[in-house]
Amino acid sequence: MDGIKTLADLKKKQEEVRSRIDLRNRAESPESIVQVKVAMATCGIASGAKEVMEYFVEELDKRSIDAVVTQTGCMGYCFAEPTVEITMPGKEPMVFGYVNARKADEIIERYIKEGELVDGIIPQNYNTI
């Protein structure tokens, strides 16, 4: 590795390595950023939750959206798997059902970016942990 000769070098280096700990930085105050929880119980995984989760992780990063993607257990909506819960800063969580890559794209573009509602919201009558 080349040495750091200027402050710009250091900043460049920081950009390179930032992703290593971004997640940890975000975890310090997840309320201030978008939280995405993918239900990853057996039912979810069987319906492709793992792929959905990877999609969110990669796409949110690509589209430069500060977000933290976590997995959670079964939310109880096994009929609608894969399910994803999105919490926008300062808002109540929303749960989306039947999420695949196309749906995920829509959620990112319309709900996360624009705040518009999209189809597939599962009405909630419980509080998440």
């Binding site: 200027t6 402050l7 920081q14």
Partner: protein
């Protein structure tokens, strides 16, 4: 580049390490590999989380799951349940001692809620052996900023304005110290980091060095820039092998990137750091003693002035700062003096790290803003007194601090308020005492430490503290007289007034503060020959119950000093003047007739006398 969606932080501080956290790490790593999750899950060994009471700690991000007392055997379950299925392993979650609820998010733990971690900002978050993680968390940005944009005077001014004071105990304004050292012209000057943490129970410096070594290295370089030094030395005790190892790695990595060494950031500034090992003498935490020790001389203090800023290591101007002080520097540079001085009290700015120990639920390392009250620290962060016992006192400031009581609980903690209350900040040890603790014994315990650790150079500390200790020993042995109290007071004040260094000048504090706050306990020991907490063995009395004793003579036969009298089938009696409290009688008695009590037994007049 793969994207980890989960980070698994395993504490690799000394505390957790000694309870097999490295094995936990290996088992988790293997399990993740086995399940093919190594692309998704990043596992990192970090520095101390502070919550040492419940180590080893494993923290899972981003959902801030906080697993305590994790055993190697738990690795599989954590991976299977938490990582794969997203279900938290409830039995490993931290349980709130008051509500008995499992805490799902560590940010909701009482222990962390009130904390503000500046010096400890990276501890438990980054891998201290990987400079990339430090850089990602802004390491060396402050150094770059000052080298390329600020003069040494401007930089010193920022530190002065921030109000940062020495965290080693005395609380001398750090910026002023730098300015003094800068003012002394010399070809060679030195920056010394005092990592000779000596207070029993205090481990903040070790934790910072183990968890975030680059913050200290960076700060030393900044200090070097300000005072005009090109050489830094870290005086660290050889009993800190892990901190030494991580410092060595950090120094090597920083050198490799050119962040230490020649022409840092392409400027004319050169700075390098090496380690000096101490053999673990408490007094070597005193800066002049530390310098003598580094020079290969006997580790004992010398009179100030001259101050190290004038004549320090090898006779050259030297700036000695403590680890925690240094750890604050880079953040102050990056976030500004105003940000820092906005935290804390009028005269004590920023935060302070405390090591909680003793009869407290959450033993560990915490960092709170100056001005936080003892009540908040002990009852909210510390989770209160263990086993529901009653709070009696808290010893702050290490062995030479003082005992604070209930009436001090709502005092905002800063350098001044602690001094005013008869204690001191010290390096930040806090030992909580409950109703079972005998305050005379507590004072004796600390004196014992001081007597052991006194360097012996000046007479009041060398002999005076020994005499204080002997007097306390007499009192706890039930041989105290009223004069002893006067002696303690006079001796204590003379030792404070005449000792050469800070160690001696504060050594009588435990005695003087307990005399001030718990005089009635001293009086009980001296006059009633009673120790209310039952800790002083010589002030416990074996007594024979008239109701239960059948006069079998068994106890009388085993008593080695013939302290028991009484005829067969008559109630026996123990002569307290002869009894050596060996307990043989109580062990022998089959009728539960002999018990221990802490009141001196009144002589019962026998019916036939």
């Amino acid at each position: 580049m793969s994207q980890y969606n989960t980070h698994l932080l395993v504490c690799a501080g000394t505390g957790c390490h000694s309870s097999e956290s490295s094995l936990v790490y290996e088992m988790l790593r293997d399990e993740i590999m086995r399940k093919g999750l190594d692309k998704d899950v990043q596992i990192i060994r970090t520095g101390c989380f502070g919550f040492c009471e419940k180590g080893p700690i494993v923290k899972i991000l981003p959902d801030n799951t906080f697993y305590t007392q994790v055993k190697p055997a738990d690795a599989k379950e954590i991976v299977d349940e938490h990582i794969i299925k997203g279900r938290k392993v409830t039995r490993l979650l931290y349980t709130d001692p008051e509500t008995a609820e499992h805490i799902l998010d560590s940010r909701h733990m009482g222990f962390y809620k009130k904390q503000l971690r500046i010096a400890l900002r990276n501890c438990g978050i980054i891998d201290p052996e990987n400079i990339d993680e430090s850089i990602a968390r802004d390491a060396y940005q402050a150094l770059g900023k000052v080298l390329t944009g600020l003069t040494p005077q401007e930089t010193t001014e920022v530190i002065k304005k921030s109000g940062l004071r020495g965290r080693g105990g005395a609380g001398f304004p750090t910026g002023l110290k730098w300015e003094f050292t800068a003012r002394n012209k010399a070809v060679q000057k030195y920056v010394v980091c005092n990592a000779d943490e000596g207070d029993p129970g205090a481990f903040m410096d070790r934790s910072i060095l183990e968890g975030d070594p680059h913050s200290v290295l960076e700060a030393m370089a900044i200090c070097g820039y300000c005072i005009g030094a090109t050489k830094g030395l870290i005086y660290i005790r050889a009993e800190y092998p892990m901190a030494i190892k991580r410092l060595k790695i950090a120094i090597a990595q920083a050198r490799e990137l050119g962040l230490l060494g020649e022409h840092i950031f392409g400027t004319g500034f050169c700075f390098d750091i090496s380690l000096k090992y101490g053999a673990g003498a408490f007094v070597c935490g005193e800066e002049t003693a530390l310098i003598h020790s580094m020079e290969g001389k006997r580790g004992e203090p010398s009179s100030k002035p001259p101050f190290p800023a004038q004549c320090g290591y090898l006779g050259k101007p030297t700036c000695v700062n403590n680890v925690e002080t240094f750890a604050n520097i880079p953040v102050i540079i990056l976030r500004g003096a105003d940000w820092f001085s906005g935290i804390g009290t009028e005269k004590s700015k920023g935060t302070k790290v405390f090591a909680l120990a003793g009869k407290i639920n959450n033993v560990g390392l915490i960092e709170v803003p100056m001005g936080t009250t003892l009540r908040e620290i002990i009852f909210e962060i510390g989770g209160g007194v263990k086993n529901g016992k009653k709070f009696k006192a808290v010893q702050t400031g290490g062995p030479s601090g003082g005992c604070l009581t209930e009436k001090h609980l709502d005092t905002p903690i800063d350098y001044e308020s602690l001094l005013a209350a008869g204690s001191m900040m010290g390096s930040g040890g806090m030992i909580v005492l409950d109703e079972d603790d005998c305050m005379v014994s507590v004072a004796k315990f600390y004196l014992d430490f001081i007597v052991e650790e006194s360097c012996g150079k000046c007479a009041p500390c060398r002999i005076g503290n020994k005499r204080l200790y002997e007097t306390l020993e007499r009192i706890t042995a039930g041989k105290g007289v009223q004069e002893d109290i006067e002696k303690l007071k006079n001796l204590g004040s003379v030792i404070k007034d005449t000792s050469l260094c800070g160690l001696g000048q504060t050594a009588p504090n435990p005695v003087l503060s307990t005399l001030g706050n718990f005089m009635e306990e001293y009086m009980e020991h001296v006059h009633d020959k009673k120790c209310r907490s039952g800790q002083c063995r010589n002030l416990l009395y074996y007594v024979i119950s008239e109701e239960n004793c059948i006069g079998c003579m068994a106890c009388k036969r085993v008593c080695p000093t013939h302290a028991i009298s009484g005829e067969k089938r008559e109630v026996h009696q123990i002569n307290q003047d002869i009894c050596i409290k060996c307990g043989a009688c109580m062990e022998k008695c089959q009728f539960d007739a002999i018990s221990l009590q802490n009141d001196y037994p009144r002589v019962t007049v026998m019916a036939n006398c």
